[in-house]
Subunit: 387 residues, 2 copies
Amino acid sequence: MVDFHAERMLGAAQRDAYLGECRSAAVRYITELIAARDRDHPAYRSVLDYPLREAKGLRPALVIAACRALGGGLAESVPTAAAFELLHNAFLVHDDIEDGSELRRHAPTLAVQLGVPRAVHAGDTMLSLALEPLLDNMRLLDLGRALRVLDLVARVLRRTAEGQALELGWIAEQRWDITPDAYAAMVTDKTAWYTFAGPLAAGAIVAEAAPAQIDELTRFALDLGVAFQIRDDILNLRAAPAVMGKERWGDLWEGKRTLILSLFFARAAPADAAFARAVLATPRPSAQGDPAAARLDRAIAVLGDRLPADVAAALRTTFRDTAVKRADEVAQLRTLIEPEIAGAAQIAAQFASRASERWASIRPTMGDSIHRDLIESILEFTITRDH
Amino acid sequence: MVDFHAERMLGAAQRDAYLGECRSAAVRYITELIAARDRDHPAYRSVLDYPLREAKGLRPALVIAACRALGGGLAESVPTAAAFELLHNAFLVHDDIEDGSELRRHAPTLAVQLGVPRAVHAGDTMLSLALEPLLDNMRLLDLGRALRVLDLVARVLRRTAEGQALELGWIAEQRWDITPDAYAAMVTDKTAWYTFAGPLAAGAIVAEAAPAQIDELTRFALDLGVAFQIRDDILNLRAAPAVMGKERWGDLWEGKRTLILSLFFARAAPADAAFARAVLATPRPSAQGDPAAARLDRAIAVLGDRLPADVAAALRTTFRDTAVKRADEVAQLRTLIEPEIAGAAQIAAQFASRASERWASIRPTMGDSIHRDLIESILEFTITRDH
């Protein structure tokens, strides 16, 4: 185990500065990519929307830190960092459609801003653009490395698609009987590959690291990724909305599969489970206004005097409240699942501890550098973060 | 100009057999690609859904025909053919979401079958999988050709995204003041690149054709593509539903931007234009049932006796009829635009004629082969097709 207090570590401010610089480098690269095509074409207007919103920028930093910690250069790692940043934001745009989310990083989601059709398209455009930095690699790096990065990205895309499909299947089948192992396997594919393992392994490939070292980094990153996601879900239940840049308890409003809910359903009394199932399966109300309510208004207007004003008013209220989640129900569910948070935190700690052990054997193989320390600080952040 | 009657040509049956064989080869390749991963993983269940439905299969045939007409082999062209087939079907899945379509190739769209979230994801999975045959090219072809094909595909993806963005922008801004030139530019990017120019140029690259020959084929293909799309839109207004595998007059139900409608709006009397605008902007009714109607039923049940049965029934009818397109309105619009079909057909004929002229100079540079004849038969089909 790494003793965080005994060794030189990056402070939070240095860590955030490093993350910010890497994110800026990736965003600058993407901006130039678009400018090289046609800066004003409507196809590219939304591509930078999410990347320019305030965010941690984990992925570009992990690509660049792994590359530099292993002796590679900054310039040769930036295109790959940009590719992961584009993929990540494309996934966010499509995830927000799939989840019906309305807020992302303190602002309305693209689906809310532009409607679903243009948001689907914006995500596709970002996925397509992500190919370009990987093609730039062919000119910037030797072909062998460039192809290995491209192969890795294809593998990462496949794992991500597989993890997303598992989760979407559980949602479609309204399944909640998900064991902690099944949950960890889903999150490994859905999140840990493209957030941690892909970026670290890609950076290591650019730095011409040995295959065994790349494998070790990958295993470390997958454990870290699961710990990170479980803690993220715990924080979603704890944080004030302003901190997350999302809705308060957004995962409950959304009905997202989390480890906490899996633990809850494994132990809940039948009545509590039935209540939770019903709340989670009910759609959230829309801050957008409700197109169906506008239709009801028009229909009521057509009926005129046949519908007395007080009945029309009661109908409007009932129609609005029918079949969307209510805040008091979500709050009650939040109270019900409180006891499971400790169990989920314990499982997260197990993954984090395994990641720490793997890191302890990787660390000495890297020279002393701020880049190595950045990776270590992300491990520490995962274990200690409260926002 | 090519005189179709004077020269040896592929008959319709031979042409369709050629298309069918190429499509089978592409689908077989995709099937093996999935089997090499995990045939039973839920992520891949929907990938073959659209590709296995009855379809012309233009793109794989154009890749293979161009490659073989220029001296290349079948085996070396199949992965690229499969990549274009995957991209095409991914675009269809996402287009069907963007357009709210319910039928595709005689069966419900994936969005209808699986819901929007899983359909967005299925399209993303298909886009991701399309990378794999292009990576296989690195092993199958020499690196130079494989990279040129990958570069081309990235360019095609970019053009397609640009064309789609133009069209989605017109829809979002409810614009109909689209000149024939603007329409042709949009369709060139949105459709002609990935349907004709990309496949033919990719096949030519695999066959190691000279850059000048690839350029000529590209220009031919872009003119052909515009002619093809305009005729497709005309046929959508003429064909019986069983022939298209889509709804009858689906483009009008959908409110799609077509050249015919652009010509109509350029000349329509203000009252006719206002009527057409209103009909086109109104959403289509859903064959799915109407989730809002179910909500209304629940709200009416909650109100109980306060809403007399006859008023409730009138409300249900009015609510259902409010703000969705009616068949009689669509039929009236269809009648209004009839006079514009001839004008659109004339513009299609101009593009087809330019394509024919370009073909007349490409043709002699290719040896006599069934593959060259296949390309020619697609040109003839575009000019003469009635289904």
